[in-house]
Amino acid sequence: MGEVPTPGTGGGHAGPGAEQIKAIPAKHSGRWVATILVTYLGVAILWGILTSPNFKWGIFREFFFSDAVLRGLLLTLELTAIAMVIGVSLGIVLAVMRLSPAKVVSSAAWFYIWFFRGTPLLVQIFLWNFIAALTGPHPAIGIPLTHIVLFRVNANALITPLRAGILALGLNEAAYMSEIVRAGILSVDEGQTEAAQSIGMTRLQTMRLVVLPQAMRVIIPPTGNETISMLKTSALVSVIAVTELLYTVQLIYSVTYKTIPMLMVATVWYLILTTILTIGQFYLERYFARGATRELPPTPIQRFRALFTRNLTTFHAPLPIGPVAGTVGKDHR
């Protein structure tokens, strides 16, 4: 059959017929026009923002690192963290409940999700804030459906706006998280459960040791999104006077009337935080991908380095780049 070109050698190491193609590139005039137009508009907008006197960058600089703003920022972070901890833990419980063979248990989880996803978060925030109106100022804590009272609490002291905000955000988040966790659990191959059971693991051990760690790979990316989303959603509790980032800047501009620069302070801080979280999410996903892929995707730093070495060696052997680089042809069999 004579010489058959070997497919997949790819490296460009000169063999017969492996000569580099030299051709005049096709003209993409449309692309050039679009590129110029977009660049022009981008520069114009940026220039406008940075030079417009209305933005009052002096005030922005004055307040960006001010104590009040930093305190608000810290509270926003605390709200996000606590609400997510509540959301994730309760979400896992709800997801396992929904998959329970006991009908009442799974219905209870369904009902919870139905309620908390079916009403606006803003309404839930108000409800928790005014819960004392429902319970009276000194509700009794005891055994339900009996007259046994263990102790009485002061509802107004117990449910501060901050706690109401945490409850509202956390309980609402649990409803969404439970659906994410449930999808993750269902995505794990049934053979895994059977194998775990075949060596004598109980249902709980199977869930904890075998299923949930694998479900994580499916659960982590949307959970990262939820966290980023929570960071921004936490601004809603400003309506019940919790001095997180947004309410803090509102308090300041209600006195100084410098609305836009103060809102820009909040905006830039939110952007910084979401950027940091996005980077964190990348590494988290990478960690949970271990064992599932033969090689992990490169980190941005590794990719940057690869780009650099590629430029040096490209003349002889162009490296494949992209998230799956290195997964091809490295079969350990």
Binding site: S198, G200, T202
Partner: protein, 256 residues
């Protein structure tokens, strides 16, 4: 009949999925140290029967006992009581099972896959289990691959790890559900070799497979199943050389 308790005793076992009856009365007895090979076309119920033995499937009728004890139930007086989940789990831990698709836990290394059962289910100490796991790795010829993740191993290697995982629980019975069907032809031999050794060492085994050669050399008995019933059973050489049923003849002519 001998006085020895059979390792597996199945009497009139029936199993339905919805309206489809997959097992229509299976009678079988497996003596300790015996190797029984089950063959048959797909859909004949052979895998289902295997899964009934460690209660991954619940039987609808008949009696099924392992080592003299009913599977999934306990008899008190003339009434059957369903076993609690944890009791079922405890019984399963004494029966090893190897699956067609290996089902190793992907986020654990090979040796962790082997160790997780004894540590978590039996509560044995890590040091003891690690030694035993390493010995098992050596035994299946993968002594140096303990740190590898399943995805870094070939199918044949994964299946050998899966066998080691089952053996780590020191089972009294091993069930093999088409252990070589998902493997490239060149990898089948290494898995069969491990199984052959296991049989020589006196493990009681029930093997569902299409490997007639293995059945003939290693099996003490060969069972041919079709459409939920046992069509024919006997010494492997006899069944293969001289099948009594037309259906057995047809099947063997296709797989041999």
């Amino acid at each position: 009949m001998s006085t020895v308790t059979p390792m597996v005793k199945s009497e009139g076992v029936r199993k339905s999925f919805g309206h489809v009856e997959v097992l229509k009365g299976i009678d079988m007895e497996v003596a300790p140290k015996e190797v029984v090979v089950i063959i048959g076309p797909s859909g004949s119920g052979k895998s289902t029967f295997l899964r009934c033995i460690n209660h991954l499937e619940k039987i609808n009728a008949g009696r099924l006992a392992v080592d003299g004890e009913l599977v999934g139930y306990v008899q008190r007086g003339d009434k059957l009581h369903e076993l609690h989940d944890n009791e079922v789990a405890q019984k399963r831990s004494e029966i090893g099972m190897v699956f067609q698709r290996f089902n190793l836990v992907p986020h654990m290394t090979a040796i962790e896959n082997i160790m997780v059962g004894p540590i978590q289910v039996r509560g044995e100490s890590k040091g003891v289990v690690r030694d035993r796991a390493q010995k098992l790795l050596d035994r299946v010829g993968l002594g140096d691959r303990g740190g590898a993740y399943p995805a870094q191993l070939s199918g044949g290697q994964q299946q050998r790890i899966a066998i080691a995982r089952a053996l780590a629980m020191q089972p009294k019975l091993m069930l093999f559900d088409e252990p070589t069907s998902a493997l490239d032809p060149e990898l089948v031999g290494e898995v069969l070799e491990v199984m052959r050794e296991l049989a020589t060492e006196g493990m009681t085994m029930i093997v569902v497979t299409h490997e007639i050669g293995f059945a003939r050399e290693v099996g003490d008995a060969l069972v041919f199943m079709d459409e939920g019933v046992i069509m024919e059973a006997g010494k492997p050489r006899d069944v293969v050389a001289n099948p009594q049923h037309e259906r057995t003849r047809q099947f063997l002519s296709k797989v041999l």
